[in-house]
């Protein structure tokens, strides 16, 4: 068999390790240890953030404490904290915090053919018809309730 000369590729550029060592270090997410590496490092995640769960927009979100019982039917009870996002649109059917006749109140906002209503969820109380804009205004939309049991 005839020997053949195989042309070699030119040898690759020699890289000084010390020059790039700093960049290489970034590859390790955890300290290098001899021994079995933690299989969890690839799956690292942030702990659950209740703030992120309760609101889309922390900048426009406020908390308030409930003392009244007019929304018991919607599971908003005295002692609860309500999470109010002012950037959410108050569409019909949403629970809102409103400032009506000099007081803050939480009610369900309902648009009906004859006007806008603030509807309680407790048979003890009556609905409020918002007949004129001067009566008050909607402060924000309730997006969550925080309870301690």
């Amino acid at each position: 068999m005839e020997a053949k000369i195989i042309q070699m590729e030119p040898s690759p550029k020699v890289v000084q390790l010390s020059e790039v060592a700093a960049d290489c270090m970034l590859l390790f997410a955890s300290a290098v240890r001899a021994g079995f590496p933690s299989p969890a490092t690839d799956y690292e995640a942030e702990p659950i953030d209740l703030n992120a769960y309760l609101t889309q927009n922390p900048t426009s979100t406020f908390l308030a404490r409930v003392e009244g019982d007019s929304m018991i039917g919607a599971h908003i009870e005295p002692g609860d904290l309500v999470v109010i996002d002012r950037s959410v649109k108050h569409t019909s059917g949403r629970i809102v915090m409103a400032f009506i006749a000099g007081e803050f109140t939480i009610k369900r906002f309902m648009l009906k053919p004859d006007g806008a209503y603030l509807v309680p969820e407790n048979p003890k109380y009556e609905s409020i018809k918002v007949s004129e804009p001067d009566m008050g205004r909607i402060w924000g939309v309730v997006v969550g309730v925080v309870k301690k049991v």
Binding site: S60, F62, L63, A64, E67, G68, F99, F104, I106
Partner: protein, 436 residues
Amino acid sequence: METTRFALVDCNSFYVSCERVFRPELNGRPVVVLSNNDGCVIARSNEAKALDIKMGTPYFQMKELAKQERVEVFSSNYELYGDMSRRVANTLAQFTPNLEIYSIDECFMDLSHLKPEEVAEYGKQIKKTVERWTGIPVSVGVACTKTLAKVANRLAKKRVGADGVLVLESKQETEEALRQTEVGDVWGIGRQHARRLQQLDVHTAWDLQKLPEGWVKKHMAVTGLRTLLELRGKPCQELEIEAPARKNICTSRSFGRPLTQLTDIEEALSTHTVRCATKLRKQGSCASSLTVFLMTNRFAVTEHNFCNSRTKQLASPTSNELELLRHAISLLRVMFRAGKRYVKVGIILNDLVPASEVQLDLFSHQNDEKQTKLMHTLDTLRQRFGHHSLKYAVQGAIDESNRHKEEQQKAPWMLRKDHISSCYTTAVEELLVIRK
């Protein structure tokens, strides 16, 4: 990238507006906010301005009027204002990341990316969004320099029909705005320059920008020249997106009532020192020297005036509050004279350097790493449990965190805050209450 279009967003009567968000019944009523220790008026609603209550009016002088006209009076609640300010700035950051927080109630924004015909609508959108998200009403002024944006903002508030948004895009719009602006109302023109200019028949911003550069540079220095060029539409000031680290930090408060006992003043000074050192570490600096000052009541005619200060040069820059406390207290003890009635004490940390550039002193920093760790731990604990959770014995035993509990005994040096509102957004026990 150079900014070619600046917006200045300014909160209207900011402190008053913060109070009104949580007390909507105060809309349309005269409201004022008092300075630290309930001294003077520092913010007024339009209704209070209409009653001719001036900025800086001492509270005791307007007490009678306040009663007659049912003026609502608040002590300043910086915890609330700070949080609302942060919310406003965060809302603005939705519109552009290139944002300079200029003061607690003002931000400059870069709107260079917009087409001229889009600007007015964008301004309205900014105003509407801030008001809806935070409840704080704002005015928006837009122009090609910071100084002109300030001019535009002022007119946006005043001009009927502007509805809080004014854009100066064309030459005519700018000229008209400058003609409507008094020279003393131009950003950066102090009262003295204004008086002098008026004597020279320079009454409006329009007159001012017509002056020759040489004259302005000679009589009003470089800052005056910068104002002149900016009024002509040539930007001389870029956005400062990252606030530069401050060169010195000061914490001082007037006492709730005049003090005569050294221990009371020591309590106050050590509390200020801890606060000041916390601020120092937060901006990542170390102080090279510290100054303590102590004042007697300068309004009391019967007493000899006494305002003294002492400075201590440190062996090497530090942010260690143990060390700062030790020096502060010893400076105070040197200055203190028995038999005087003191009204104020304060500390200034000077010649700040970045913590990363501090030269280690072989002798005083034996335990440097340990101390840094300790300070870090203190900062973390205070951040989580409040500034009052951890104290030095020299700060006294009274808990200033329970400021709303009336039965709470108050340290004599603590501020008077007789009209303080709740910290609605930063303290869970002070939230808004819904009774219905």
